[in-house]
């Protein structure tokens, strides 16, 4: 089985619309990307802190359980009973010495080993499983798991590179930055967007839209393209990082830059209560926006003093869930926790600077689906040709980087495709 893409250009500045709407493409993405040779975000170590703790998550469309066993070792395994394929763990999280599928009570240890089969030896000498049946041979598939400074990644692949090589220089550096002391999870938010998962992945790589779609940024000066910042990519251009430095532009600069842009106007309004805009410096690098984004589907994001991870969970070719985990630090004062929660008004499904993404992605998905063959997205902001880092944020280049690596994994790179 396979598919071909007739790329119009080899620099991914045209993306065929059908790639967001095709069932076979989706099926192959699950196989070649999500079960392929790369690392995937699972959850935070802080969510499975005690022996017996477990939490369910997803790698693409595969349900996964992350556990900590009584020897304090972490495990990740497929949440699918060896017997009939039923869901084993039904709770989202909890603590348990073992995990039992309710259908026929097959029992699994926290490490994902099949440890119990009722009536395996039969009843009163009759029935039962064959004598040579080997539970170990049918135990659920286990993922390789790494705990990188408190962020848990997993992979189904035996071949993939080390986590350090996968994340690259800024990826490893940024995770250490966010996880420099013990974190405390403040809670979750979930959003179901009627669009293909790649549209959200692209959105995270499109800094061009940020200050145009999310007008709250500009109106109230939270984040503007005129702030000092930029976009970094890893050597393979599959990950990216949008970043900006607090208070690095002036209101006059911003006003001049946005003059004449329809629908975007500075200083038109004032907040009655400005605490949403307060930023308490907390990182030595001075960034108030830092958003390292990891191929294919996760991001760690600082927007002022809100900190969190976002996990894109594909739910079929036409839907995705955005699962957000908000965190602070264990040594936060009650005032700091309150401040982080007040600033949570800016992010999430009702976020004053994030809500628009749901609508924009649905609009793009809805009408690109009926576009005729040969129809494609135009991705040239920031330039064509080679993939380069930029010291500004009016760019879509990381989207081209995403498609470059996507094509490599899917086996559909054009001749001479940029990498």
């Amino acid at each position: 089985m396979g598919f071909q893409v007739n790329w119009e250009r080899n620099d991914y500045s045209r993306i065929p619309h059908w790639l967001y709407h095709d069932d076979e493409v989706y099926r192959l993405e699950m196989e070649r990307i999500f079960r392929g040779p790369l690392w995937h975000y699972l959850c935070l170590e802080a969510e499975v802190r005690q022996p017996g703790d477990f939490r369910t998550t997803w790698v693409g469309d595969t349900p996964v359980v992350v556990t900590r066993d009584k020897k304090d070792e972490l495990h990740a395994w497929v949440n699918r009973c060896s017997h009939r394929g039923a869901t084993i763990v039904r709770q989202v999280h909890g603590n348990s010495a073992d995990h039992v599928c309710i259908y026929h009570r097959w029992c699994y240890s926290p490490s994902g080993d099949l440890t119990g089969i009722p009536f395996r030896r039969g009843l009163k000498g009759e029935g039962g499983m064959p004598a040579d049946f080997s539970p170990a041979s049918v135990s659920p598939k286990k993922l390789r798991l790494v705990n990188f400074h408190g962020v848990l990644f997993g992979t189904f692949s035996e071949q993939c590179e080390s986590i350090e090589d996968f994340l690259g220089e800024f990826g490893t550096g940024m995770i250490r930055r966010f996880m420099h002391k013990p974190v405390r999870v403040l809670g979750y938010s979930r959003q179901l967007i009627y669009g293909n998962w790649k549209l959200y992945a692209e959105n995270l790589r499109d800094t061009y839209h940020a200050s145009l779609l999310h007008e709250f940024f500009v109106t109230y000066g939270v984040d503007r393209a005129t702030q000092k910042g930029g976009v970094k990519m890893d050597a393979r251009h599959r990950h990216n990082m949008n970043h900006a430095y607090a208070a690095s532009d002036t209101q006059d600069e911003a006003r001049a830059a946005y003059a004449g842009t329809a629908g975007v106007e500075l200083d038109r309004m004032k907040l009655r209560d400005t605490k949403l805009l307060q930023y308490i410096p907390e990182f030595e690098d001075g960034m108030n926006l830092a958003a390292p984004t990891f191929f294919p589907s996760s991001i760690i994001i600082q927007a002022n003093n809100t900190l969190g991870t976002r996990h894109i969970r594909p739910k079929g070719v036409n839907q995705l869930e955005v699962f957000q985990t908000l965190f602070g630090y264990e040594d936060d004062t009650p005032e700091m926790t309150r401040h982080r929660l007040i600033l949570a008004n800016l992010v999430g499904p009702a976020g004053l600077v994030s809500m628009e993404d749901g609508e924009a992605i649905e609009l793009a998905h809805r009408t690109s689906g009926s576009a005729p063959a040969g129809s494609a997205s135009v991705v040239e902001m920031g330039g064509r040709g080679p993939l380069r880092d930029l010291a500004h944020r009016v760019t879509e280049t990381p989207i081209r980087g995403f498609w470059s690596y996507w094509s490599e994994l899917m086996g559909v790179e054009p001749e001479g495709g940029v990498r």
Partner: protein, 164 residues
């Protein structure tokens, strides 16, 4: 709060609560968001949280306005700044259950369901949950001092813009 016995509620408290909830839903549904904000006291506290977080004892919020000015800021932002899915709202609010008074505030809970309808008439169930309210009564009028919207529907379809 859920195990409290049902006791007699003064008639005027019941009536004022009923009127308040009727106006609460209708003001949102008729896009009179400023009237909706006027149902709150200036020192109000309004939160939208998910049941998933509440049951885990986690404090995360979807919306948190700790005074009425923040509510008005949000309304102004919806009106002039934010982009969201174009729709009409419809709230269906169940009968209020009173749980006595704490610190001079009547504790009231009511279930809600909220539907969204596109401008071409397609309706979806958007959210169900309950309101947990602390009401202040002055001169026979009830106002909201505290409101926690506990959304069972933690998986928000598309996005959450107009208030629940």
């Amino acid at each position: 709060m859920s195990s409290a016995a049902v006791t007699a509620i003064p008639r005027e408290v019941r009536d004022a609560t009923f009127d308040l909830l009727a106006e609460y839903g209708m003001a949102i549904d008729q896009d009179r968001l400023e009237d909706w904000a006027a149902l709150f006291t200036p020192d109000c506290d309004y939160r939208v949280i998910s049941r998933e977080n509440e049951e885990q004892g986690l404090p995360n919020i979807m919306i948190w306005c700790d005074n009425r000015d923040m509510l008005l800021d949000r309304i102004e932002s919806y009106r002039h700044v934010n982009e969201y899915n174009l729709h009409w709202d419809r709230h269906v609010i169940g009968p209020p259950r009173h749980f006595g008074q704490v610190d001079g505030l009547w504790q009231v809970e009511a279930a809600y369901s909220a539907f969204q309808t596109t401008l071409e008439g397609e309706t979806r169930l958007f959210s169900v949950g309950r309101y947990r309210l602390g009401l202040r009564f002055e001169d026979g009028v009830a106002r909201i001092r505290t409101a926690v919207v506990v959304a069972d529907t933690g998986l928000i379809p598309t996005l959450l813009a107009t208030p629940l």
